[in-house]
Amino acid sequence: MSVDVFQRRPAAARPKRSWFVRNKSAIFSHSIINFFLLIILLPLTWVLMMSVKSMPDAMRGNFWPRKFDFTHYAYVLQKIETLPVNLFNSIYVTAATVLLTTLFAALAGYALVHLRPRFSGILVAALLISLYFPTRVVSIISVYEIQSFLGLINSTAGLILPYITLNLAISILIMRSVFQLVPHEVIEAAKVDGAGNWRTLWTIALPMARNGLVVVLVVNFVTAWGEFLLGATLTNDQSARTMPVVLAGAQGGLGQWTWPNLAAVYVIVVAPGLIAFTFVQKLFFKGMNEGVGKG
């Protein structure tokens, strides 16, 4: 049961006042929210406009072009053949990374809080320290050595392994702090009822930690979806690459990658993600709207 501040105001009790006065605070907060949404959306609308501008208009700062040119989409879809393959690569690498990392983080977070093996304190400290360590850049050579040893150079699926580690530490720490909110008594009670560790985690602890799971999913999705440095270093074939790497090669605006073409690809890349997201958003935000206390 949520309490809404807007209703709490005494004004609500006096319906004679004008609508604006009654909803002053609501209007105020909605305007602030919408102002920020505008800031988020305006640059993206600019890209959308860029993708339908004629070449000379692309070099002018006007929002509305003098002359529209809708051919850029057809051009990039016909002339840039690897585009769907790269998009597919990005999707499956990201999906695998997100699922595996979340699974590993949930297992580890649960073990750290409710099983408490020896030396777990050291492990937590190590995870914390690793957050501050800018390994990403310096470790490229080392990661390359490992991947090469495993025979995973130029393998798109092989990217999943280093990708899992990108946010593993923070994911475990998030899951740990979320599982800390699950009372030990609940876990103990389940065990007394005869449930093993796996069943306790799966049926009792995880549903109660749904919020944390969502956060972990989001963190990992964002990182894996946009990763560039490792993707560029560990793959060689254009057809083995993920979308960000391909686009990084294009941002100089060379040859066929003129600004309107680049903007068209931009829209093509971002749109499916957004559409897919609006479909799953219900599941996605549901976990957040449900309070932990309900369990």
């Binding site: 070449m55 000379p56 692309a58 070099m59 002018r60 002339k79 490229i140 050579i141 390359y144 050595e145 090469s148 040893f149 495993l150 025979g151 995973l152 150079i153 130029n154 393998s155 798109t156 699926a157 092989g158 560029a232 270093t233 060689n236 074939d237 254009q238 690459r241 790497v245 391909v246 990084a248 090669g249 294009a250 941002q251 100089g252 605006g253 060379l254 040859g255 066929q256 990658w257 003129t258 600004w259």
Partner: protein, 458 residues
């Protein structure tokens, strides 16, 4: 480990070929790739698919190109059809491949056989030091070697050996927007001297034909070096570094300051370019049709003119001279390097020879296609001689002009710090351009010291 890698590679490659031939579908290809990717556990599974004969084969010739080369020359994949068994690969962004090359060379192996994208003064010395590449001399045909324009051959040569087989030639020149110059009442011809260049730029600003008169690219190898060469190309120290304290270099610096007064205000900035390679501030001003003249290698204005209302308004000309100067300029080639630990070296020479002589690539580069007009020129004497003897109808005026400059133009001397000296020096010589230091020689002295300090670190 090496064997593992080879096996994985061959399996992957075999699956890829089958996919291309249509004997397996995309889903199966992905399954196989996935299994291969998962390592040894997969080898047994894959062997069942009956592609074990693939093990017996050697890998095909495997060149790697930079993405931007294919972006500028989209005809390369079509050219590759002449070599159906070549495993053509692309490196995404300039600079990102080299760590890989070095790391592999340490293990005495190389995923690739040829690297197309090497600019000698930028990276050749480093690649040799790291034992990544070997000379072409044992593989390049003698007649090809002798066909390379002498100054270009010198550029790719270290200790008498040809480490860089030249491909795409860039020469620094001077280009203008004739719509703007005409509006300013100027004749449609290239300024011969820097004084004329400055006077024209001033006329543009004063007549308000455009907000800015002239611009240049602020990266040292694209501004201070060619401008110094236009005075004298003898501006290098005995160990091969650019002599920032030479008269020519100091004159160039003073010239830059004069041009700056007539240029866009952000001329010294990195802008939003990708590490200074493309989309530099001067290019953007030129593309936005706000500046009359640009001093740069020709593919830049050719690309930028595509954004104009009338791309035909672009005219290209040689670099202006100092009235007492020798009138040289700077050129570089983007060429091909042979991996020491690669394979198929004879085949590589055969492929690169065909590539660099390919008539279609040169025609597309000069005349342009609907995919763009890079304006890169070939490195061989015979090609220019052929065009001179029988001029094709698509020939552009700037080609003979650049060819003429090449007899005088000079590449930046190869050195481990060939590129880096300009990167280190830039903020220091800019103290003079920004007016923080009034004495150009004092600024240049600090550049020399900073470069030397960085070299001494090692």
């Amino acid at each position: 480990m090496t064997i593992r890698k080879e096996q994985e590679y061959i399996l992957q490659e075999a699956a890829r070929q089958q996919l291309l031939q249509g004997s397996i579908d995309r889903r199966e290809f992905l399954t196989r790739s996935l299994v291969t990717g998962l390592g040894l556990a997969g080898v047994g599974t894959i062997a069942k698919f009956g592609i074990s004969p693939a093990f017996a084969q050697d890998r095909p010739l495997t060149p790697t190109f930079y993405q931007w080369i294919q972006n500028l020359h989209p005809g390369i994949p079509a050219f590759n059809e002449q070599f159906p068994d070549v495993n053509y690969q692309i490196a995404p962004v300039e600079g990102f491949g080299i760590e890989r090359f070095v790391a592999e060379a340490k293990d005495k192996e190389s995923t690739w056989d040829v690297y197309v994208g090497q600019t000698p003064f930028v990276e050749m010395s480093a690649m040799i030091a790291a034992d990544v590449i070997e000379p072409w001399d044992d593989y390049i045909p003698k007649d090809v070697l002798d066909d390379i324009i002498p100054s270009i051959r010198e550029e790719g040569t270290i200790n008498g050996k040809l480490y860089g087989w030249p491909f795409l030639l860039d020469v620094i020149g001077n280009s203008w927007h004739s719509g703007i110059t005409t509006k300013a009442g100027l004749a449609d011809k290239a300024p011969e001297t820097w004084d004329e260049h400055l006077a024209n730029a001033k006329a543009i600003v004063e007549s308000q034909a455009a907000p800015y008169g002239a611009t240049f690219d602020n990266h040292g190898w694209r501004c201070i070096a060619p401008m110094a060469h236009s005075m004298s190309s003898d501006t290098y120290t005995p160990e091969g570094l650019f002599n920032f304290e030479s008269d020519a270099a100091v004159e160039a610096l003073m010239l830059m300051k004069k041009i700056m007064a007539l240029s866009q205000p952000d001329i010294l900035l990195e802008g939003g370019s990708d590490g200074g390679v493309n989309g530099t501030v001067d290019e953007l001003a030129f593309a936005a049709q706000r500046v009359g003249y640009i001093t740069k290698y020709f593919n830049a204005p050719l690309r930028m003119a595509a954004y104009w209302d009338d791309p035909k308004a672009l005219h290209l000309g040689p670099l202006p001279k100092f009235s007492n100067g020798e009138g040289s300029t700077v050129f570089w080639t983007t060429g091909c390097a042979l991996f020491k630990h690669g394979k198929n070296k004879e085949k590589a020479a055969e492929y690169i020879k065909a590539l660099t002589y390919d008539a279609q690539i040169w025609k597309d580069s000069i005349a342009g296609t609907d995919l763009g007009r890079p304006g890169h020129l070939p490195p061989y004497k015979s090609i220019y001689a052929g065009w001179e003897a029988d001029k094709p109808d698509w020939m552009a005026d700037f080609v003979p002009l650049v060819r003429g400059q090449l007899d005088r133009a000079k590449a930046i001397t190869n050195h481990l710090f060939g590129l880096q000296q300009f990167v280190i020096g830039k903020p220091l010589w800019e103290t003079y351009l920004k007016g923080e230091e009034s004495d150009p020689r004092a600024a240049m002295k600090r550049v020399t010291e900073a470069v030397q300090a960085e070299i001494n670190r090692g």
